[in-house]
């Protein structure tokens, strides 16, 4: 039977993609293995160095990766690609065997080669995502310099780097700070990051004491994404109701009454949008905020000036003739 999600239902985020990168020996493989029921695709042949690695596949070429079947990964919740850079080298080699024109004489990929790698990797990840597993990308770090500035980013070749940036729900940089190992999901001027779970910068514990460290982070990210998704619907409904009322405002009096009403709105996201919509509407009506923070009609008609703090244009004719109003109306 066809599973239909009703329009009123919010689609729940059940799987995500996390990207971890950092200095060699910082514990990327170990940390990735603290995810839930993980299977490590060990492309770097470095998993033996980690004392916390779970089940793993020793990858020697790209066919080891694409050869993985649905049955093979049944029972695992998380697939770890360690490292993405090495996996891409396997993929590049496989593509060059298929089409030697994708490489230069020096063995480097041509531009078309990089494009082919990106496309093939994208397809493979697309397929993997349909299997309803969390995916963890592990990468080494790479430092880029622009003048005196430096920025650290995952060491991933060509356009696939952009693909990982786009796909990852969260991206954390691991580094040593004094005695502590740190993971920072915050994007800064010094390193790339993505923090959809609002995790920020945290000290990495000893995995012997926290064997589910990444699993908890992944859960926190999912919870945040689901909360945001729920709130999105609620906020849009509230804003929509306010919007209908704003559309009905016809003059400064109604706008001023509305100003009092929106003071009751407590949600900052709703309030920001309602204020923006009101500003747009009042501008179209030719209103402005005066020194008393009240809306009044902009009247620049040469013949008729408003008396004292009169907020309405004295004659109806003025509405149509006033060039200023006409400008705003447009």
């Amino acid at each position: 039977m066809l599973k239909i999600t009703k329009a009123c239902e919010v689609t729940k985020v059940s799987t995500i993609i996390v990207s971890l990168y950092g200095q060699p020996g910082i514990g990327k493989t170990s940390m990735s293995s603290t995810s839930n029921k993980s299977l490590l695709l060990d492309c770097d042949s470095g998993a033996y160095r980690s004392e916390f690695t779970g089940d793993r596949v020793e990858v020697k070429n790209w066919s080891d990766i694409v050869g993985i079947t649905v049955e093979d990964i049944e029972g695992y919740d998380t697939i770890i690609i360690d490292t993405v850079g090495r996996a891409l080298e396997f993929l590049s080699a496989a593509l060059i065997i298929q089409n030697p024109k994708l490489s230069k004489k020096t063995g480097e990929l041509t531009i078309a080669g990089y494009g082919a790698v990106k496309q093939s990797f994208r397809s493979w990840i697309g397929g993997l995502r349909t299997l309803n597993k969390d995916i963890v990308f592990v990468s080494h770090e790479k430092e880029e310099r622009t003048g005196d500035d430096r920025i650290v980013r995952p060491d991933i070749q060509g356009g696939t780097y952009g693909e990982i940036l786009k796909l990852a729900d969260a991206m954390g940089y691991m580094y040593q700070e004094g005695q502590n190992r740190i993971i920072d999901f915050t994007p800064t001027d010094y390193h790339i990051g993505k923090d959809s779970g609002k995790i920020g910068k945290i000290i990495i514990p000893h995995f012997g004491q926290e064997p589910n460290f990444l699993s908890k982070i992944i859960q926190q990210i999912k919870d945040t994404l689901n909360r945001v998704s729920m709130e999105n619907r609620e906020i849009s409904q509230i804003v929509s109701a306010w919007r209908t009322r704003i559309d009905e405002i016809k003059n400064s009096e109604e706008a001023n009454c509305f100003l009092l009403e929106i003071k009751e709105e407590k949600n900052p996201t709703v309030l920001t949008q309602v204020r923006g919509l009101l500003a747009k509407k009042t501008k179209n009506l030719g209103l402005r905020v005066n020194a008393h923070r009240q809306y009044e009609l902009i009247v620049d008609c040469p013949d008729k000036k408003p008396e004292s703090s009169e907020t309405f244009c004295p004659t109806q004719a003025c509405f149509t003739d006033c060039p200023v109003f006409t400008k705003y109306k447009r």
Binding site: G162, L165, P187, T188, G200, V228, R243, T272, G276, L277
Partner: protein
């Protein structure tokens, strides 16, 4: 009170950290003397299509003197072109950050970007524009819909490639914005340009 825009902040950031913006460029930006270039005009036309403007015929849209194929107007549920002017406190006094979201729905903002070169996702992630928008609109997500467009021999503009980049607020984001705003105000003072950024 000072008044800046996310575009000005990003121009200043690029001037500070890269060679893409020269001193002359940043001064022009601050003085608001930037002349609209052809790619900017094409980009604006794409925004207009997204807003639902333009004349549609034979699967093409005519807008602002350009003809486009393959660009659809945005879903009606989005509020388009919403302008806000939040203030941020700095040691120099308050500064208004004037911003207009291309489209907003609930706690999600959409920004349309056009480029005539291959899409560089990392470049968009470095922007301060998304940080400002997420902060100013108190939003939880921003999606950059980046369209790589090119003009065919028949003069029609087509979308060659589209990427959607999703970004979210992070701890310390407001502080990052404040620091850049402070830095830019200090720069304007040091160069005698402060009057150009006053309200």
């Amino acid at each position: 009170m000072y008044r800046l825009s996310p575009t000005m902040l990003d121009s200043y950031r690029l001037y500070k950290t890269t060679n893409w913006k020269s001193y002359t460029d940043i001064v022009s930006t601050i003085k608001k003397e930037v002349v609209e270039t052809e790619p900017m005009k094409v980009g604006r036309a794409v925004h207009h299509i997204k807003e639902g403007l333009g004349t549609e015929k034979y699967g093409m849209v005519l807008i602002d003197g350009y003809i486009f194929r393959g660009i659809e107007k945005e879903d009606k549920k989005y509020i388009s072109e919403l302008k806000i002017t939040p203030k941020i406190q700095t040691p120099y006094g308050n500064c208004i950050i004037s911003m207009v979201a291309d489209a907003i729905y609930g706690n999600e903002i959409k920004e349309y970007k056009t480029t005539q070169s291959p899409i560089d996702i990392g470049r968009y992630m470095e922007y301060y524009q998304w940080r400002c928008y997420l902060w100013g609109f108190c939003a939880e997500k921003i999606i950059y819909e980046v369209m790589e467009i090119n003009q065919c021999k028949d003069g029609i503009w087509k979308v060659k490639n589209t990427e959607k980049i999703s970004l979210c607020p992070y701890i310390g984001m407001e502080e990052d914005i404040r620091l850049l705003v402070e830095d830019m105000i200090a720069f304007c003072h040091s160069q005698g340009l402060q009057n150009y950024i006053l309200e």
